[in-house]
């Protein structure tokens, strides 16, 4: 038997409550649509993730908390996709590495 130990950690705050009435599904769909539009760069769709959590809190599907506690920063704006001008993550990383080397 393969003895490789893989590390799997339990989630920090447990499970999300299930949205049985699909109350926040429309926002989820907006988020997913945004991701497709921006080459899956999540930072471009930050507003929708924020909206999703606010929706959950409003419908009692999530404990009320400051958005900072979910990792959102003040004045974080939707940015244009970071890797829009690159074929993939690999080419983006190489370009950034070379940029750093030149400094």
């Amino acid at each position: 038997m393969d003895k490789k130990r893989s590390i799997v950690k339990k989630p920090d705050r447990g499970s999300f409550l299930l949205d049985h009435n699909s109350e926040c599904t429309s926002i989820k769909n907006k988020y997913l649509k945004c991701l497709k539009k921006h080459n899956n760069d999540h930072l471009s769709c930050r507003n929708y993730s924020k909206e999703y959590f606010i929706c959950r809190m409003d419908k009692n599907l999530l404990e009320r908390q400051d958005l900072n506690e979910l990792g959102f920063k003040e004045n974080e704006l939707d940015q244009d996709s970071r890797i829009k001008n690159f074929k993939d993550v690999y080419s983006y990383n190489i370009k950034m590495e070379n940029k750093n080397k030149l400094k």
Binding site: M1, D2, K4, R5, S6, I7, V8, K9, K10, P11, D12, R13, G14, S15, F16, L18, D19, H20, S22, C24, T25, K28, Y31, L32, L35, K36, N39, N40, D41, H42, L43, S49, Y52, F53, E63, N68, E69, L70, G71, F72, K73, R82, I83, D88, V89, Y90, Y92, N93, M96, E97, K99, N100
Partner: protein
């Protein structure tokens, strides 16, 4: 491999029962500290791929093929599950991160794993995951050329009993197929 995965199920149930949903605040990861961590290659991105497997009569799929993230940023992703049966079913999900070394840096803030989830008959539900990749991954010499991490989820059927109320509830709210009575 399946035998080993099955062994994990009761182990993680134990973990969940000990922490529960409202864990003490001092045990929570301080996200502000993670987000501000300084690392050398600040602009390195990683593509997280999502895959799924279901060992039960649920359709279970990721709702996005991949998301491009920077270590330190919290990221929201979705899976979707649909119960194909005529009765409620309880499932429990486990996840696995590849490559194995990356698992150390993959942090779930909140998800749908390790705890039992019940879906009513024919119910379809959104399953969100909130995670981040620890910026320390950029300092790990084994992972310098890492561009891709795969998050893989698998749902198993739980042998917990469904509370009686739920068994009758799904029958009560099932659409009535009677013909409409017309009042002339």
């Amino acid at each position: 491999m399946f035998g080993l995965s099955f062994a994990f199920v009761p182990l993680y149930q134990l973990f969940c029962q000990s922490t529960g949903y409202g864990g003490t605040t001092k045990d929570r990861i301080d996200l502000k500290k993670i987000v501000d961590k300084k690392v050398s290659d600040k602009n390195r991105m990683i593509e997280v791929h999502f895959t799924s497997q279901s060992n039960m009569p649920w359709v279970f799929k990721p709702e996005q093929k991949s998301i491009i993230v920077k270590p330190g940023e919290t990221v929201l992703a979705f899976y979707k599950a649909k119960n194909l049966l005529n009765k409620p079913l309880i499932g429990i999900a486990l996840y696995h991160v590849l490559p194995d070394e990356a698992g150390l840096y993959f942090n779930k803030i909140q998800c749908f794993c390790f705890e039992e989830q019940m879906l009513n008959a024919h119910e379809e539900i959104d399953l969100p995951v909130l995670f981040f990749i620890d910026p320390d991954i950029l300092n790990d010499s084994r992972l310098t050329n890492l561009e891709k991490i795969t998050l893989s989820y698998i749902f198993f059927e739980s042998d917990s009993e469904i509370p009686e109320e739920y068994q009758y509830l799904s029958r009560a709210i099932a659409p009535q197929k009677k013909n409409e009575i017309q009042i002339i």
